[in-house]
């Protein structure tokens, strides 16, 4: 009997495993230049978060750090535990929504960003985390309707929806029914009870497709989206101020938050505006430019690489 086949199979198997093990992860390229350390920056699963992750990451790279990126990681419910367990070191948070997550829905967030960040840090402190300086750039949850529906239901602000909630379907990411600034907030602050909720994505193509096919009449969008007008969507005014200060703020592990890292990130934040967000979002969502290219272009424009 031929012994060859068995040895060949075994050799193939071993070779495969060795190749896989020695191949290493494609995201960690070996560089021989000494760096100040390695940080892992993560983003939520929507383009703006990727842009912010690259803005933070690239500015830190310019300063001599090695950065691993984990963009499109998931919702906050996925990203925050990853930060707590040390799998990632930093993500770009939104002050009020992050406070709502970490304060276990105690509704501590306010329209005052300084106070909100302070309260956020109170909670982060004991977890070994810290929030740095918030930027002026804001991205809040916003609820939109198509222009046609807005005219049909005569709705321009959220309080207009209260009497007609039971005719409308709300669409958002699956986390919406449990987020105080989302469906529960609409109920408690505005008294809106929707006919149904459809779990789609967090301000992504599924939500937009649902608007177009009128599968949903009200949907969650972000106030800094770059393509709302193009899509014929109208944001309903938050007249009772359900949404609080959702300023962009870096949230990271205290261990990684050295003075130098803080200086770099705070400098970036001090120049970031909401208009910047809207512009960069439209470059990614409409022109399909890469988030990292858009981030680098932004940093170059503002002379960070000088």
């Amino acid at each position: 009997m031929n012994r060859r086949p068995l040895w060949m199979m075994a050799a193939l198997a071993v070779a495969a495993i060795l190749a896989a093990a020695c191949g290493g992860s494609p995201s960690s390229s070996a560089t021989s230049t000494p760096s100040k350390g390695t940080l892992t920056v993560a983003g939520f699963n929507f383009p703006e978060s990727s842009i912010l992750a690259y803005i933070y990451g690239k500015s830190l790279e310019h300063d001599g750090y090695k950065i691993n990126y984990k963009v499109n990681l998931g919702t906050r419910e996925v990203v925050a535990p990853a930060l707590e367990s040390g799998q990632i070191d930093l993500y770009a948070g939104y002050a009020a929504t992050d406070l709502e997550y970490y304060d276990k829905k105690a509704s501590e967030a306010t329209g005052d960003v300084t106070l909100t960040v302070q309260r956020l840090n109170n909670h982060l402190q004991s977890m070994g985390l810290v929030a740095l300086n918030a930027s002026a750039a804001v991205d809040q949850n916003a609820f939109a309707m198509t222009k046609a529906n807005s005219q049909k239901y005569n709705a321009t602000k959220l309080s207009d929806l209260a009497p007609i909630g039971n005719q409308l379907v709300l669409g958002a990411g699956p986390e919406c029914p449990t987020r105080p600034y989302c469906q529960p907030g609409l109920k408690s602050t505005y008294g809106i009870t929707f006919k149904d909720f459809k779990a789609l994505d967090t301000d992504g193509p599924l939500t937009r497709a649902a608007f177009a096919s009128n599968t949903i009449q009200v949907g969650l969008v972000f106030s800094s989206d770059g393509d709302l007008t193009k899509l014929g969507l109208v944001v309903l005014q938050d007249d009772k101020h359900l949404e609080a200060a959702d300023n962009v703020v870096p949230i990271m592990r205290q261990q990684a938050a050295t003075d130098e890292v803080r200086a770099v990130l705070n400098k970036v934040d001090s120049n970031l505006t909401t208009v910047d967000l809207i512009t960069m979002n439209s470059q990614v969502s409409i022109q399909h430019q890469d988030p990292d290219a858009v981030a680098v272009a932004y940093l170059q424009q503002h002379n960070y690489f000088a």
């Binding site: 193939l12 198997a13 495993i17």
Partner: protein, 223 residues
């Protein structure tokens, strides 16, 4: 088309400019896909071979192995990947545990069938010639079971390549990351590229396994 309805910028199905400037990204996802597949298939084989041999001798162990791995097999991969994240993190390990588990079932079944099909006369002849049990296994039974094992390998390889794309949800995905990127960003090109390359990879891997079988088992035609 869904894209065209919304945007003035009409999205072609393949934007060659984007593709040209993103070759490193595509290659990186392809490599990750190859890695994840290789480890899953090799891991499955390394477990299934000895397990199959041992289970072949014992009727009750055979039943237990097929039952346990069989039930595991019915669990949707998405659920397993997601459920493992809190324990093994967003890592290759989380992807590999279910993938290897599925391959063990596929391969163990084929190892068992292959060993089952060894004609009794051949076994008797081998015993008559003086082969001791281990030698009989390595030199007679397993080689004769190879066609069945290779058939299982081909199924395992193609199946794994498809399942790897689903790991995009936990931050991996191989070529599935391109598909996921296409979905989230309403962008056709990475979706098409990811889909086409996955299919090509699967077809090439399947043909490669068939060729390997022809080399290793010249007396049996691949199915």
């Amino acid at each position: 088309m869904a894209g065209g309805v919304f945007l003035d910028y009409v999205d072609p199905w393949i934007n060659w400019d984007w593709l040209g400037s993103h070759v490193p990204l595509v290659l990186a996802t392809l490599w990750q896909h190859v890695e994840l597949t290789a480890v899953a298939v090799a891991g499955g084989l390394l477990i299934a071979l000895p397990l199959g041999v041992i289970a072949h001798r014992s009727g009750s162990l055979r039943l237990a192995v097929l039952l346990v791995f069989g039930v595991f097999y019915t669990i949707p991969s998405l659920a397993l990947f997601a459920a493992l994240v809190p324990y093994t993190g967003l890592s290759g390990t989380t992807a590999e545990i279910p993938l290897i588990g599925y391959n063990v079932l596929i391969l163990v079944r084929n190892v068992l069938v292959g060993l089952d099909e060894v004609p009794k006369d051949v076994l008797d002849a081998a015993d008559g010639m003086g082969y001791r049990p281990r030698a009989r296994l390595l030199r007679v039974e397993l080689p004769l079971a190879l066609p069945s094992i290779f058939a299982g390998l081909r199924v395992a390889i193609v199946s794994t390549i498809g399942l790897v794309t689903i790991t995009a949800v936990i931050g991996l995905g191989g070529l599935g990351a391109l598909i996921y990127k296409g979905l989230i960003e309403s962008f056709h090109t990475p979706l098409v590229v990811g889909l086409v390359l996955s299919i090509v990879f699967a077809v090439v891997a399947d043909l490669g396994a068939a060729a390997a079988q022809r080399v290793a088992v010249p007396w049996a035609r691949p199915a």
